[in-house]
């Protein structure tokens, strides 16, 4: 079975949860997690609508049309430096096709070196970059990389979400920046071996303008994402080390293993489940059901885990809160008991409070007339 290649999105997700050995191992080994999740009986709900797919491709084609004239204009305009965008003939668009990922990465590296040495503009359309992650190579394909005459390489991300009145959805921009950071990291590996080359820490995000399909662009500074990704990827346990801890003969062969065998194989590697995984990992539903079976509190969110200290299961927290277990001198336990008492008191008093509020409500109604006047001034501003 051919290995399932890692892409930038997967790497960004991995970097977001570096403590998850399960994901690191499966990704590193190139296991198709989607198929695995299906075999485990918790298929991932991911999928892309063909409408979005078509629209994305059409927009990217439009941005790169005519040898990237429009893209270059946006780049020159937004990134400054070169006030005059290069004339269409000045930009070389090297052919990057080659056989196999190794061939393509070599071809890309060569094109990058040639363009830098030539000191001219070059647009690399879908170059292929390699990055070693946890001891195994990952191949990454940015939308485009632009080489400038001064030797600076700039990652270009083309996305089909709109930039309306100059601003786009913050979460989508964040995801794009994290993805671009992975590309920039991979580019840096090539840049260190290329004289006069430097990878720009600003990437160009190209999006449709308002409600049209005209491209507009914005510069995104990815220094923060770069350092976070670099650190997280370095933190990833080497896959060999994880594999060494597995029982002999553990395999994730989807064709030859039964569901039960796969389940025990997956369970042999520890996972760090958090609700955020649901949006990023194919195995999330499987891990979630395991976390829930265990009664793990982090299934309710990472912050919940932080709040509860040493108490890690729902049962332990509730019995500590109700005074059955736990050390009353432990500040977490003491706070929990106090919270449980206050909550119970408030709920028990709710019925009584409702009656009282009916009385208070009449007083409030009288007051509302006065309040009308009082808020009149305040309402104006937001009005």
């Amino acid at each position: 079975m051919p290995p399932h290649p890692l892409d930038a999105r997967a790497l960004a997700a991995l970097a977001a949860n570096p403590g998850c050995r399960r994901r690191a191992l499966l990704d590193g080994a190139g296991v198709d997690k989607g198929a695995l999740a299906e075999a485990l009986g918790s298929p991932a709900p991911f999928g892309q609508s063909q409408f979005a797919f078509m629209r994305g491709n059409a927009f990217e084609a439009k941005v790169k049309a005519d040898g990237g004239t429009e893209l270059m204009r946006l780049l020159a305009d937004r990134l400054g430096g070169q006030a005059v965008p290069p004339a269409p003939g000045e930009v070389s668009v090297p052919d990057l096709s080659a056989a196999g990922p190794e061939g393509r990465t070599a071809r890309t590296a060569l094109a990058l070196r040639e363009a830098t040495a030539a000191g001219a503009w070059a647009l690399l359309d879908h170059p292929l970059l390699a990055l070693e992650v946890a001891g195994s190579p990952a191949y990454l394909e940015p939308d485009a990389v632009v080489v400038r005459p001064d030797g600076r390489w700039t990652v270009v991300e083309i996305k089909s979400f709109p930039m309306i009145d100059g601003s786009a959805d913050a979460s989508k921009v964040g995801a794009a920046a994290r993805q671009a950071a992975v590309y920039a990291l991979a580019l840096e590996r090539v840049a260190v071996r290329t004289e006069g080359a430097e990878v720009g820490h600003q990437v160009l995000l190209v999006c449709p303008k308002d409600f049209s399909n005209l491209p507009t662009a914005s510069v995104v500074d990815i220094r923060k994402q770069l350092s976070v990704t670099r650190r997280q990827l370095a933190r990833l346990t080497r896959i060999e080390d994880i594999a060494d801890t597995l029982p002999e003969g553990t395999t994730f062969n989807l064709e030859r293993c039964s569901g039960a065998q796969l389940t025990s194989a997956v369970d042999a590697v520890s996972a760090a489940y958090a609700p955020e995984c649901l949006a990023a990992c194919e195995l999330a539903f499987h891990c979630r059901s395991r976390a829930r079976e265990r009664g793990a509190v982090e299934a309710l969110g990472r912050s919940v885990r932080g709040e509860l200290g040493a108490l890690t299961t729902v049962a332990a927290v509730l019995s500590a809160a109700h005074g059955d277990t736990g050390d009353p001198d432990d500040p977490t336990v003491a706070a929990l008991r106090r919270a449980a008492t206050l909550r119970a008191e408030a709920l028990a008093g709710a019925d009584r409070a409702v009656t009282e509020q009916a009385v208070a409500g009449r007083a409030m109604a009288d007051r509302a007339v006065a309040a009308d006047r009082a808020v009149a001034g305040g309402a104006e501003t937001e009005g």
């Binding site: 409408f51 409600f211 969110g301 919270a339 408030a346 409030m364």
Partner: protein, 562 residues
Amino acid sequence: MSLISTLARLEAVASGRARPLATVRHRRISERPLVLVPLTTAGEAGAPLGALVGTDRDAPRLLTVAQPRDRDLRFAFLGELAEAVLPYIDAYTDVIEPAERNETDPETGKRVKVEVELCVDAPQLVVPSRPGIDFVRLLGRSMRFRRTAEEDPETPYPAPPRVPLLGRWLTHYGERARVPGSSLLLATTDLLNRHWATGQSGLEDQHLGALLAWIDPPGTLSGAEAALLAELERDRDGQLACPPAGPATDPAFDNRLLAPAIERYDRARQELGAAEDGADAEERLARLTAAERHIRALLLGVMRPTWDAVWHGLDLLRQLPEGARVEERWTRDRWSFTGHRDRVRAGEPPQPRRDDAVTAAQKLASRETALAQLAAAEALDDPLVLAGHRLSGEAFVGEVTEVVMAYSEGKRPSPRPLITVRTDDRPHLGERTKVFRSLDGKPQSAEFVRYGDGPADEDEAGTGTGTGTGTGTGTDEDGTLVLRLTDRMGRSKEPAPGSVPEKGDRISWTLFEHDQRGGPKLPDPEETPWTHGGPPVREGTAEAGPDAPRQAPDPVTEEDFL
């Protein structure tokens, strides 16, 4: 998330049902809300696919776009949406009551009271989820700069009448939804999450179906089981039994059902265009109509469950009694609605693409005020919310054990009684920390004097030079503390009847203020300092630069979307 709400979530996990987070309803639910369930086309900015809209839960109005890339069809959709929404809004604009408003007299510069109209009630829009609110805002933005043929006969693609007006209203509602505690535009998921804690994470709570499953699971299922089904259950065609609450659709729906249906529609339309004679055309028209009807049926199929879920959610919320201070916030919403009505009537231009510095600062300031007001009001309305503040030391409930009369120093001594309170709570009290209680709906303030209930020191009964016995750290063993009441006792030497607590009263005190005063006054937009971009440039003035035509319609390109 406070520990009390975390605890509620854990209780929900253990019991398999959502647990209450509030004992009263903290938002207004109108008697006749307009529910809007929109759908959008994946990957397109603001290309609507369809909507269910209406005030009658049994008879939603179905609006669809058979080919979302077709501008004419999109405009027809928006025109229909305007016909569905605007009459509902209009019904509220003329039912008014007289009210007074403080305004600055332009000549004298004094604050004067002006007689104005205030709408008695306001229209309320309810969407399924938070992305629905964003979509309302997006629709508003996409429509308000359109030009109708009536406004501008030259415009290349005139919008149907009233579409720009709908855009302005949706923009207003979208903006108002950003004010904490407002109820003009509500998301059902937000409403439910405010009042119940489920046994899942906040991220999963954004799924309306799963959320409702935890609160009110069908049949004998537990909340957890029902929520899992709502998330994942698919039929033989791979279609979700509980489709997403929109505006995004499920990719499996797009790829397996919708895309082929739209293709069939496109083909039928092409064939109709190529029809050669009448009989042929008639047959092909029938095929086109059938293809369109098929798309409508598909879209209705994925929107109807969400429509019913929204009403189900509203039913659940209506079972809670409304909090006492909700009316006051709703009054603010009515002012907001009336204000926009007045601006539309006065012929003001649509809201600008970007706010100028002063407007933006004003909006932020008023949202901050609203947030603080909301937090205080919810705590005063709801013992369960107050419990959270008690846990964090920002409030305490205690029984009055002793009241000692005392007076302030000075020419006219005013009553400053010392109240001894016994409480189990651990408020964070420092020297002369101000505390507040609600007296007939108004805040009465007191200041902390000392811990313990020893005999009052003569020095301390005065203006409070004494530091008390246990100021700052730790509560006294038995949890008693002494407060000095400082206002709302009338002007005479004897406190007004009922204004001083009596022995045995059980009173809630908060360390936060109940009312928030707004910040300092901002300059007029014309006075905007250069540090903030200077005065806004008005359209049509001599100095209008290239950025000036802020109200100009969006440029229209041949292949643009919407």
